[in-house]
Symmetry: C2
Subunit: 200 residues, 2 copies
Amino acid sequence: MAERVTDHRRGPRRRGAELEAAILAATRAGLVERGYASLSMDWIAERARTSKAALYRRWGTVGELVVYTHARLVRSLLTVPDTGSFASDMRAMLRSTADVMDSEYGELLRGVLAEIMKNQELAAEARRQLADSGPQAMDEIYRRGIERGEVRPELRGTRTMTVALDLLRSEFILGGTPIPDAAIDDILDTVYLPLVRLPD
Amino acid sequence: MAERVTDHRRGPRRRGAELEAAILAATRAGLVERGYASLSMDWIAERARTSKAALYRRWGTVGELVVYTHARLVRSLLTVPDTGSFASDMRAMLRSTADVMDSEYGELLRGVLAEIMKNQELAAEARRQLADSGPQAMDEIYRRGIERGEVRPELRGTRTMTVALDLLRSEFILGGTPIPDAAIDDILDTVYLPLVRLPD
DNA sequence: CAATTAGAGAACAGCTAGTTCTCTAATTGA
DNA sequence: TCAATTAGAGAACTAGCTGTTCTCTAATTG
């Protein structure tokens, strides 16, 4: 004698990529509206108008879902500016990365970093994402810098090449957002450029 | 008609500092045995053989308790070696810091960093702890380096002075533990020492 | 020695993580 | 074309945690 007022099982049922897109959108919405700390599978399922079962079929925890969402989003956020010189390319890239950290994506990044700190298994995958994305864009800028004869070619691909980005992330973690221009100038002019610039 | 087999209300009751010490010990034990992700007020209260009420009277959340525990512990962990030269002092300090990151304290540090990522209110206090502790020890080593005429005196107290520690923390977050000697050598020999050493 | 403070123990409501049902729409392939 | 399979929707449920609020009573204070 169960009365069902609305049975969504009748409606058009989303599947596969379409459903996944709705779930990822709901995850981003959750990060923006409630923050990483208050994100829950229940909330995401309701927001995406799907069921928890559909979520758990794909991801085991909220953390996995956040890391996956980050992986899907991070590629579209990288900007590789070409402004004419290595120094201004780097400055533009760091500034735009800092701006992204201060946008809604910042909460996603915070979630991924929190997950790295919390979860040993996920840490490897999340670290790979962070260790790949930034340096990849950086490498393009550095390559052009070598061609122009502005920077030391032997440093390409080494830890030194990514020092600027490491320090910017440090600033994000320890200083929060927004990241002032002064911090970026400091990283570049005092630390990074003296290191990589060719001695004349 | 309630039968009480054991009523601990009769026994000697701990208070103040004594009780707090037991709670902090239980918190550290929880971090080691279960990890930051599985830490709960319930577990800590049971482990410290006290009540949740006593915990909530002091701290509002597990995060606060973890950050407080960190604050209490961090001072005793700083080592300021005096080995005869600035370079070897720094190497010894970074190595010992890296070793601490690989000890049970590492899980506490992970907890504090996770809390910074998760909780906006606590972040300020936790950041202050991290931003103060390391540089403080560093400053002593740097001061001696200036006296010996080994490093550029104008960098004392600037962002540049702490670059080595920032990069080590980056390594901890993105690379995990243990931190190999090669990473420390790289940070020092390729990045840090060329920056701060006096040109001859 | 009386009044006050604070710990112990317990119960509780509310929320979340995961799991596991049933029912049924959409897809596949013989 | 139709039967079999896959997978989403909805719901129920257990277990565990948070944060609060009782009562009882030990320890401290004045």
